[in-house]
Amino acid sequence: MNRFSYSKPQQVNDAIQQLSDTGRFIAGGTNLLDLMKENVARPDQLVDINALPLREIETTQAGGLRIGALVKNSTVAYHPDVERVYPLLSQAILAGASAQLRNMASTGGNLLQRTRCYYFYDIGTPCNKREPGSGCGALNGQNRIHAILGHSDQCIAVHPSDMAVALAALEATVHVSGPDGDRVIPMSEFHRLPGDTPHLDTTLGQHELITAVELPPRGFAENYAYVKIRDRASYAFALVSVAAALELNGNTIGTARIALGGVAHKPWRKPEAEALLAGKPATEENFRAAAELILQGAQGFEHNSFKIELAKRAIVRALSEAASGVNAK
């Protein structure tokens, strides 16, 4: 690990002011410290934000829930309001990492974790995300875990978060503060596709700090599912994951939300596929039609083309599970 200076401010504004151009905020540290040990991240300053007053979970005036950026993943997953109103979020969080990591990792940090692409992590190989312009090791390398949607010839990495996939389906917003004030970013615009600038994972400004994640009132607690397909039963990143949420009138679909993890540089949604399901009966045939539409244009590489059919089947399974109400408390 490289040498760095360390400070622990008490207020959000102080933290933002203290951060230098080459420094980083640190919360749980579970990903950042790992990256620093691998020399992938080499900040010369860490601003420890753990003393900031960002640990509340509170009901919003709109009837939603505001989760402070420093609330631990395990605290969110087991919070009574989250379990009751947003069980999809609980299920997704508990599908990720290990109990120890969930006890450390913060809500804001989860969104900002970097890809687990082997080439991003190995500083002996080229990676446009780690070192812009150096090339992509994964494109013609071992790419079993990589993207099938939204990738570019610069980067085929995927975003590793499970929590973010549920937040995308629930249409959460990300509250941030920065030198120019506060703003609110919809989850759909928070993570970005790699394009020609794969070193940028998100639309967060360099000196901006996540202060909270806000959930709208609608939690889909009756009909939801998080299906995660991985190489071992627990404690592994998703090959494909699906967050599915339905609003049903009898067997007719009112609203459908479908977000995919493990397939793209961001949680993947296709509004046309969700619209396709609206007003239709909740049948496997209709779910398959939506799945085909979501995976339209998907392109695999040498080792990961299996993900295309896997994703379609996972979508059908997740929607079927959601429609059955099997997960409702």
Partner: protein, 175 residues
């Protein structure tokens, strides 16, 4: 418990050090640490408490699991300076003299290890898991313990040991 005087952990440590206060296994320590020292390295390399193991050093194996304020975490992925003021419990803090903690005794009785390298992390993790109160069934215990790998494959006996110790551990950490 008397606090020991602040201990300079490295003779060449200069202005970069931060003084922190840690209660480790009931004993108060005032320590001058460099910010890049992990909690794991502080325990093992600076305090010679080698019961906590370094396996992968990347949060993937769980061998470094300790309890911080009663919660299980990976000590390899936490900076010591970030734990200022915390209460840390390691494997060395569980037994009362020769009187083993119920979880330790259960691991012995159930033969829940071969090489033993993952065992301190398994035991601390299991105690943390019981305190969390989320695992009731065998499958839930397996799931909740998935952050602790055992290369010897003693999982069945580890599961049996945890099941055996649950009733005695319900009150949390024994004082």
């Amino acid at each position: 418990m008397n606090a020991t005087p602040a201990r300079q952990l490295r003779p060449d440590a200069g202005a970069d050090t931060h003084t922190i206060s840690l209660n480790i296994n009931g004993k108060q320590h005032e320590l001058a640490v460099e910010p890049w020292t992990t909690l794991l390295d502080l325990l093992r390399e600076h305090l010679d408490m080698t019961g906590t193991k370094k396996g992968c050093d990347h949060g993937q194996c769980g061998a470094c699991t300790v309890l911080v304020n009663g919660t299980r975490i990976n000590s390899c992925l936490s900076l010591a300076v970030m734990q200022d003021g915390a209460e840390v419990t390691t494997i060395e803090g569980l037994a009362n003299g020769d009187d083993l903690h119920p979880m330790q005794a259960a691991f012995v009785e159930q033969d829940a290890f071969q090489c033993g390298y993952c065992t301190p992390g398994q035991i601390c993790s299991a105690i943390g898991m019981i305190a969390e109160g989320k695992a009731q069934t065998r499958d839930e215990i397996r799931e909740q313990m998935s952050g602790n790998l055992c290369r010897c494959g003693a999982y069945n006996n580890i599961l049996a040991a945890i099941e055996q110790a649950i009733p005695a551990c319900k009150g949390g950490l024994r004082e």
